[in-house]
C-alpha cells in the first residue's frame, strides 16, 4: 500500500456512495459483458460484425443504394443503375393492392378496410370507451364488408373473379380467422364430449384435416366439391375456398384449444358443480375463459399460419399477391425480376404477421393474472 495516498477515514455510516467502477457500467460495461466477455465471445462478435458488414454492403447496396424506383421496363431500369429494379412493383402497385377491382369502385374496399380497423379496436383492446356498441358493430361488420365489396342493394356488383392482391389476402384471412375460431372451439369441446358419436366425428375431422396438406383440400374445393353437393347446385370459387380454409384452420385451432382445456385442473369443474352451475354455464363461464387464455399463443400461431397459407390460393388460380406477382413476371417487360417482386410481397406479409405476433405477446402479458415468478437471469 506504500505510495498510495493514505485512506481518508469516515465515521461509520458517513461514507459517500461511490460510482461503480467504469469498466462495469455505461457503454463500456455493456460492451464488456455482452460482446467481449471472453476471448471466444470476442471472436464471435468480430465475425458477426464482419457478416453484418458484408450483408449491408452487398444486399443493402443492391436493395437501397443502387436501386431504381421508377422506370418503364427492366431494360430501362438496368440503364439507370445496377441494383434492384423496384419499378416492377411501383408501376403495378394498384394491382398488388386491389387485383382487377374496377378503379371507379375502389373506394368500397378502402371504406371496408377503414371500417375493419374500427371493428378491430373493441376486439383487440378492452379499455375502449364505448366498447359495447362498437362490439355490436364488429359483429355486423362481416355483412357490411361483404355488401361493400361484392355490391348489390344499390351498389354495382363486382364479381369475385376481379378480386386480387392484398385485398384478397385480407378477405380470406379475416373471414378464415373469424369463422374458424368458433368452429375450432366447438370442435375442441366436441372432442372432449361424453357423447361417443360427437367425439368420434370431431376427432376424425380434426385428424383428417391435420393429416393432409391444405393444397389438396383446395384442389378438392376447386375441382370436385360439386360432386358432393346435390346435383345442380354450385358455389362461387372464392366461397368454396373460404369454406375450405376455415374448416382447415378450425381443425388446427381445435388442437390449440384442446391444449388449453386439458390444462384446466379438474377442481375447477368440481367447484362449479358444487356451486350448482349447469354444465353449459360451467363451460362458458369457468372453463373456456381460462382455457382460451392458456391457448392464446397456440391460437395466434394458427391465425398467423392461416394468414400465410392464404397465399396457396394462387395454385388454384386466384390472384392473390403471388398471383399478381406471377402475372407481372410473365410480362416480357419485367421478365426476370422475381427476386424484387417476391421480396416486396414478403415485406407485406412480414409486417402483418409480425404485428399479429407482437399483439399476442402483449395480450399474454396483460392477461397474466397469476403471480409471475421472476426468473433470475
Amino acid at each position: 500500500m506504500t505510495g498510495n495516498p493514505p485512506p481518508r477515514t469516515y465515521p461509520p455510516g458517513d461514507h459517500p456512495d461511490l460510482p461503480p467502477p467504469p469498466a462495469t457500467s455505461g457503454i463500456v460495461g455493456w460492451l464488456r459483458s455482452n460482446l467481449f466477455s471472453s476471448p471466444f465471445n470476442s471472436v464471435l462478435t468480430l465475425v458477426a460484425i464482419w457478416l453484418i458488414y458484408l450483408f449491408v454492403t452487398g444486399v443493402g447496396g443492391w436493395m437501397v443504394f443502387d436501386s431504381v424506383v421508377s422506370a418503364d421496363s427492366r431494360a430501362a431500369c438496368q440503364a439507370i443503375d445496377s441494383g434492384a429494379c423496384w419499378a416492377v412493383v411501383t408501376t403495378r402497385l394498384d394491382q398488388f393492392v386491389y387485383g382487377f377491382y374496377p378503379p371507379a369502385e375502389r373506394w368500397r374496399p378502402n371504406l371496408a378496410f377503414a371500417l375493419l380497423l374500427i371493428a378491430l379496436v373493441p376486439i383487440l383492446f378492452s379499455a375502449v370507451p364505448i366498447r359495447r356498441p362498437l362490439l355490436w358493430f364488429a359483429a355486423a361488420y362481416p355483412f357490411i364488408a361483404a355488401w361493400l365489396i361484392y355490391g348489390g342493394f344499390g351498389l354495382p356488383v363486382v364479381g369475385t373473379g376481379q378480386y386480387g392482391g392484398f385485398m384478397l389476402t385480407l378477405i380470406i384471412g379475416v373471414t378464415g380467422i373469424s369463422a374458424s375460431l368458433p368452429l375450432g372451439i366447438l370442435l375442441a369441446l366436441g372432442r372432449q364430449s361424453k357423447l361417443l358419436a360427437l367425439r368420434v366425428i370431431s376427432t376424425a375431422f380434426i385428424e383428417f384435416s391435420r393429416g393432409v396438406p391444405l393444397i389438396t383440400l383446395l384442389f378438392v374445393a376447386s375441382t370436385m366439391l360439386n360432386y358432393f353437393l346435390p346435383p345442380g347446385t354450385s358455389f362461387d370459387l372464392l366461397v368454396r375456398v373460404l369454406i375450405m380454409v376455415s374448416l382447415f384452420a378450425a381443425a388446427y385451432l381445435a388442437e390449440a384449444v384442446r391444449g388449453g382445456l386439458q390444462a384446466i385442473p379438474r377442481g375447477q369443474v368440481e367447484a362449479a358443480e358444487a356451486l350448482g352451475l349447469s354444465r353449459w354455464t360451467t363451460t362458458r363461464r369457468i372453463i373456456l375463459p381460462q382455457a382460451l387464455k392458456i391457448a392464446i399463443p397456440g391460437i395466434v400461431n394458427v391465425f398467423v399460419g392461416l394468414y400465410k397459407d392464404t397465399t396457396l390460393v394462387v395454385i388454384i388460380g386466384l390472384l392473390d399477391p403471388l398471383g399478381i406477382a406471377r402475372a407481372v413476371l410473365a410480362d416480357a417487360k419485367w421478365n426476370g425480376l422475381a427476386t424484387e417482386t417476391y421480396l416486396f410481397v414478403a415485406l407485406f406479409f412480414f409486417l402483418s404477421c409480425f404485428a399479429i405476433s407482437r399483439y399476442s405477446l402483449w395480450l399474454e402479458r396483460r392477461l397474466a393474472t397469476d403471480h409471475q415468478r421472476t426468473s433470475t437471469p
Binding site: I215, N226, T339, A346
Partner: protein, 356 residues
C-alpha cells in the same frame, strides 16, 4: 353425401375405378427420377416416382432444417448480444413469411441471379453452381465396396460392445475410461484400412463442362434445390424457437444443482439440461417435420414433380379422374402423418416423467 356423389357421377356418365393407374401409359416426362421411368410407364409408376421425390425433399429438408434450427436456437441463447440478435432476426423473418413465397423467392433467385452453366460458379473445381442446376460429383461404387461395408459393420459392433463395457465399468466402480473413443478410433481405422486394401472401390465421377451443359456427376435440378432449401429455411425458424423454449423450460435449479455437484459446463448440458429439454423439444419438433413433409406439396408451384404434381396434377388432368386421384393423394399423406404421430405418441408415453 355419398348419394350426391353417385347421382353426380351418373349424370356425368363417370365411373369410379382405379384401373387407369396401371392400364394407361402416363405419357408425360418427369424432370427428376430416382427409379427408372419413361413416359410410356403407367400412371402408377409415375405416382411412385412422385412419391419418392416427395420423400427425397422431405428427408434432405428435415436434415437441413434440424441442423440449421438447432444452430440458430443455440445462437439465440448465446450470451453474446450480437449473435443472439442475428438469430432473432433470422427466426422472425423465416417464421413470418409464407412458405410458398419463400419457395418462389429462392427459385427466382436461383433462376435469375445465378450464372449460366458456361460461367458456373465453381467450388473447388468439382462442384458447379448455375441456374440450370447444381452439379456435384457422384460416387461410383464398385463391387469390392461391400467388403468395406462389411468390415465397417463388424467394427461398429465391436465398438458398441466396448462402449457397453465402459458403461458397466463406470456404473460398478465409478471409474471413467474413454472406451467410446477407443471404439470410434477402431471403427475409423479399420474402415480406412479396408478401403485401401480393397483398392479404393469408391471413386468420384466429377462433372465436366461439355458444350452448353455439364456431363457426368450428379445434377441437382434447380427446383429441387430451391424447394429443399426454402422448406429447410422456413422450418428451421420454428425449430430454433422450439429448441430455445425447450432449453429455457429446464428449471434454473437444475443447472445450479449440477454446478454445485461440480459437473463441468459440457457435462451439465449433456447429462442434465439436454435430456430434460428434449422432453419438451421433441413433440413440437415432430410436428415441424410433419409440416415440412406436407409443405413439400407446394412443389407444384415451381414445377418440381412430387406426389401432388404427378398423381394429383398431370395424371388428374390427363385422365379426368379427380375423385380417385385426390382420394389417393390424401390417403397417402394421411397415412404418413398418422403413422408418424402414432410413433410420436408412443415415444411421449415412454419419455413421460414418472411421478411418485
Amino acid at each position: 353425401m355419398i348419394g350426391n356423389v353417385a347421382a353426380n357421377f351418373a349424370a356425368l356418365d363417370k365411373t369410379f375405378s382405379f384401373r387407369f393407374l396401371w392400364e394407361l401409359p402416363a405419357g408425360y416426362d418427369i424432370n427428376q427420377t430416382l427409379i427408372s421411368y419413361t413416359n410410356q410407364n403407367s400412371h402408377l409408376r409415375a405416382a411412385v416416382v412422385g412419391l419418392l421425390n416427395t420423400g427425397l425433399v422431405a428427408i434432405v429438408g428435415i436434415f437441413l432444417a434440424t441442423v440449421l434450427g438447432f444452430s440458430v436456437g443455440i445462437m439465440r441463447l448465446s450470451n453474446n448480444w450480437l449473435v443472439s440478435r442475428i438469430a432473432y432476426v433470422y427466426v422472425e423473418f423465416t417464421r413470418n413469411t409464407p412458405v410458398l413465397l419463400l419457395i418462389l423467392l429462392w427459385h427466382g433467385i436461383i433462376i435469375n441471379t445465378l450464372p449460366h452453366p458456361r460461367q458456373a460458379l465453381s467450388l473447388g473445381g468439382s462442384v458447379f453452381i448455375s441456374n440450370r442446376g447444381f452439379y456435384v460429383p457422384a460416387p461410383v461404387i464398385e463391387p469390392a465396396f461391400w467388403w468395406v461395408a462389411f468390415v465397417f459393420c463388424i467394427a461398429t459392433i465391436i465398438a458398441a460392445a466396448l462402449y457397453r463395457r465402459g458403461r458397466r465399468l463406470q456404473l460398478s466402480t465409478g471409474i471413467r475410461k474413454p472406451y467410446l473413443l477407443y471404439g470410434l478410433g477402431l471403427t475409423i481405422a479399420a474402415t480406412i484400412l479396408a478401403f485401401y486394401v480393397a483398392g479404393t472401390p469408391v471413386t468420384l465421377d466429377r462433372p465436366t463442362l461439355r458444350g452448353f451443359n455439364y456431363r457426368g456427376g450428379m445434377t441437382l435440378i434447380p427446383e429441387f434445390v430451391a424447394l429443399t432449401w426454402a422448406l429447410a429455411f422456413y422450418t428451421s425458424g420454428f425449430i430454433a424457437e422450439n429448441v430455445r423454449s425447450g432449453i429455457n423450460a429446464v428449471d434454473r435449479g437444475q443447472r445450479d444443482a449440477a454446478c454445485a455437484l461440480g459437473l463441468t459446463e459440457n457435462r451439465t448440458m449433456k447429462l442434465v439440461i439436454l435430456p430434460q429439454a428434449m422432453r419438451v423439444i421433441v413433440p413440437p419438433l415432430t410436428s415441424s417435420y410433419l409440416d415440412l413433409m406436407k409443405n413439400s406439396s407446394l412443389a407444384i408451384a415451381i414445377g418440381y414433380m412430387d406426389l401432388v404434381a404427378t398423381l394429383g396434377g398431370i395424371t388428374l388432368t390427363q385422365t379426368g379422374r379427380e375423385m380417385e386421384t385426390m382420394l389417393l393423394v390424401m390417403a397417402i399423406y394421411l397415412a404418413i402423418s398418422l403413422s408418424i404421430s402414432w410413433g410420436m405418441n408412443i415415444y411421449n408415453r415412454r419419455q413421460r416423467l414418472v411421478e411418485r
